[in-house]
Amino acid sequence: MNVVRSCSVATLGCALFALCVVRAQEPAPSPARSVWDGVYTEEQSKRGESVYQKECASCHGASLGGGESAPPLTGGTFLSNWNGLTLADLFDRIRKTMPLSGPGRLTRQQDADVLAFMLSTNKFPAGKTEIYRQSEMLKEIRFESEKPADKK
């Protein structure tokens, strides 16, 4: 019968589909890594500081404290805005809207370096690998404002 044959032909597909359905019904897995796991290097942060002072400090302040017309990139408002999201969200916000005078003018590498500098200034620890330059990969890193107990 057509039905039987269809099923037999598509057995593998049916199984995969079922797996997909099961997977889709599960909550999205929380990324395993967070900003507390050393996701940038000190060298990258230094490069980012140079880019930041040239391209960003004019509005956000030399010490990331913000100004009347631009929000701080450190402290309560900043941490609460991004807490619980991923580094991809923050990276994309920078990538798509900053600097305001020319969004997208900086390279992905420069944006990643600036992000490294922001993490450094907010006292998230440096590590041995640089921040990825692709949002898809940054989705794997959680932005958590509070330090996990096991890292205190």
Binding site: G65, G75, S80, G84, K96
Partner: protein, 688 residues
């Protein structure tokens, strides 16, 4: 070739019949109703008050979203800092929106777009000192014709037909007045890039529209010379200039001698960038004036510097000064008079007083007889610390109100630092030890690598009450004021390299690069700072301990102040305790009362019985997912009576109105990853 063009979309014009259905025709009944919201702060008195009561303590939790509109497409890029408060008059809601600062007209019951107007200003818009959607617009009507007025980022006053969005051809040139012209000064270096603009809403009183001026951030200006922020009145029918008030006096004018060594000639800024208040009956205008160039160093402008950081009363018809009171002599703290003065008819010691009350960054509410300028309660001159930054000339005294008491912190001592645990307090003390501490008016210090890095200040650039201002109930004579109680600001000064600025000292930290602060969106190519000093030592010092605010809670407050008695009736922490405090492991098990939040741009709305204000921070709690709450408090007690979820923090102050028998509350939200959105809340139909 013209470098700018306007666009407008007139949905109604596509179908005249449909337009007639949604846009009421002009009629003698077109004067605003008491249930409308016809100006930025509800009225010209700056009250942010409407005596509506359909939404009340019993049903606030039942509010649901009636309509919403994202502002992403009202400009060539999304905006994440939507600060507008809409108007609602005669059945149409008007707002500024998007990175274009477009004007939109909406159906107040559904949010349907009726028309849109925008100005493409080319390089002039791109170089503007104050970008993005601004805070709002103004409405005028003579009972027949209705007009909407706003100022573009490029500093042009635009006048539109309120029904169609079309420019009024008889106003200025083709519906616009170039505010960079006819300003008793030559805007330099040129009209395209000359630094001057404004983001606040113009105010219309009678047939006069009044416009102030704003500039870039004043912490690290490139020069002691800048354009000046005069205030002007224009004829709302023709756009003709009626008067001008020189916020920095010209030679021969009162106050010129408060600028020693001829510094009035070159010093700039000193604008009125926030909302202006008017008493139409008395024919008086109240101007809250900001700081002169530069915010934290006044060595190039010795003297008291009138009318910097003053409240100035001028005549509505002529702009002539009636009285003034300088809140800060020889300004050094960026204590711009930052919000709308509030008009209050009060009774003090049994006598009626027509008063004006001025909230401030420094947490003082200055109250004056608004006819004479005499303080309602004494504001004596008190000795203050004199600093030692080379070349600075300090005022040895400052006026400090005897009443009401300060409603937010305005100085920093060790006792103000976080003290949830002794360990946290010790770490905060380590940070504070790098700075000079002291009470209000402790002067900025030169930043040194071996300390102090600067003065740890609060109630300066972003403390206390900022641009959203306060609210006032004319029936009970109580003012309601949001304040940031924890917005600490380290103010250090560094010698400016000659290639960076001709000012001797600008804001900075020893060992850090020196850079120029500008408004967002300025042409970075043209204005990019020169290469500057390499960092040689000090670390960035965040004003927090593991992300926890450096100061003790409450971080943000709402205070109710009785203006008959000058006493604080109640004060509450506004805003959920931040996640980082609630979830901090070392604080688990501690009973920490709600702390409020560390943010400075919260505005309040008051109705017949409620004080309504949204939160400025995102939180995630057991009661709600990631988001912020719009909260309602009992006006009499400050007790919370309800809260409704918002997807992002409040960034523009809420307003309310009645439409077809239903009360609405509209609030602007944005921030972080969430682009600007106006959200209207109303009760579900079954609750009506």
């Amino acid at each position: 070739m013209r470098d700018r063009k306007s666009f407008r979309l007139h949905l109604g014009l596509l179908c005249a019949a449909a337009l007639a259905l949604v846009v009421p025709s002009a009629s003698p009944q077109s004067q605003p109703k008491s249930t409308d919201w016809p100006s930025y702060a509800a009225d010209l008195a700056g009250t942010r008050y409407r005596p509506l009561d359909q939404i009340n303590a019993a049903n606030f939790n039942d509010l649901e979203i009636a309509w919403r509109i994202k502002t992403d497409n009202f400009g060539d890029r999304p905006e994440y800092k939507l600060e507008g408060t809409p108007l609602m008059v005669n059945g149409i809601l008007y707002a500024t929106a998007g990175s274009r600062r477009a004007v939109i007209a909406l159906d107040p019951g559904t949010g349907e777009l009726l028309w849109i107007h925008g100005e493409h200003e080319g390089k002039r818009g791109g170089a503007a000192s104050r970008q993005l959607s601004g805070r709002g617009l103004a409405y005028w009507s003579d009972g027949k014709e209705e007009r909407i007025l706003y100022v573009t980022p490029g500093y042009r006053l635009i006048c539109l037909n309120a029904k169609t969005g079309l420019p009024i051809s008889g106003f200025g040139t083709g519906g616009s007045v170039d505010l960079k012209l006819n300003d008793d000064q030559d805007i330099f270096p040129d009209l395209t890039t000359g630094e001057i603009g404004i983001q606040s809403a113009p105010v219309v009183a009678g047939n006069t529209v009044i416009v102030g001026a704003a500039f870039r951030e004043g912490m690290t200006p490139r020069s002691m010379r800048n354009n000046k922020g005069y205030v002007r009145g224009f004829d709302v029918r023709t756009g003709k200039r009626l008067w001008i008030f020189h916020t920095i006096p010209k030679k021969g004018e009162f106050g010129y001698d408060t600028w020693e060594k001829g510094s009035a000639e070159y010093t700039g800024n000193t604008g009125v960038w926030t909302q202006i208040t008017v008493d139409e009956q008395l024919g008086l205008v109240y101007l809250p004036v900001e700081s002169p160039t530069s915010d934290f160093y006044g060595g190039h402008r010795p003297g008291n510097n009138l009318f910097g950081e003053s409240l100035v009363c001028v005549d509505l018809k002529t702009g002539e000064r009636k009285w003034h009171f300088q809140l800060v002599h020889h300004p050094l703290w960026d204590m711009d008079v930052s919000s709308a003065p509030i008009l209050a008819d009060i009774t003090v010691d049994g006598k009626p007083v027509k008063a004006v009350a001025q909230p401030s960054k420094q947490g003082f509410l200055y109250v004056f007889d608004r006819i004479t300028g005499k303080p309602v309660w004494p504001i004596p001159e008190k000795p203050v610390e004199v600093g030692n930054v080379p070349g600075e000339s300090y005022s040895p005294t400052q006026p400090i109100p005897s009443k009401p008491p300060a409603y937010s912190r305005n100085g920093v001592s060790v006792d103000d630092l976080i003290d949830f645990t002794p360990a946290l307090h010790d770490r905060a003390k380590e940070i504070a030890a790098k700075y000079h501490l002291g009470p209000v008016f402790t002067p900025p210090t030169a930043s040194k690598l071996d300390g102090p890095l600067g003065t740890l200040s609060i109630g300066t650039a972003s403390g206390g009450t900022n641009w959203p201002g306060g609210s006032y109930d004319p029936e009970t004579h109580i003012a309601y004021l949001y304040a940031c109680n924890s917005c600490v600001e380290p103010i250090g000064l560094v010698a400016a390299p000659k290639e960076v600025s001709d000012i001797a000292y600008i804001a900075g930290t020893a060992g850090h690069e020196v850079s120029i602060l500008r408004g967002p969106g300025e042409n970075a190519g043209a204005d990019s700072p020169k290469p500057s000093k390499k960092r040689t030592g000090s670390e960035y010092v965040p004003m927090n301990v593991d992300g926890l605010p450096l100061m003790r809670p409450p971080y943000g407050t709402i205070s109710a102040i009785n203006l008959d008695t000058g006493e604080i009736v109640w004060q509450i922490a506004h805003g959920e305790t931040p996640d980082i405090v609630r979830n901090y492991p070392a604080l688990k098990g501690l009973a920490i009362p709600r702390t409020g939040q560390e943010t400075y741009n919260i505005g309040t709305l008051i109705t017949k019985t409620l004080v309504i204000a949204g939160e400025g921070h995102i939180t995630t709690t057991a009661d709600h997912p990631r988001g912020a709450m719009l909260r309602a408090y009992d006006k009499k007690t400050g007790k919370e009576v309800g809260a409704v979820f918002m997807p992002a923090p409040q960034t523009g102050s809420p307003m309310t109105y009645m439409h077809n028998g239903k009360q609405y509350i509209v609030v602007a939200v944005s921030g972080g990853p969430y682009s600007g959105e106006y959200i209207a809340y109303a009760l579900p139909s079954e609750s009506e």
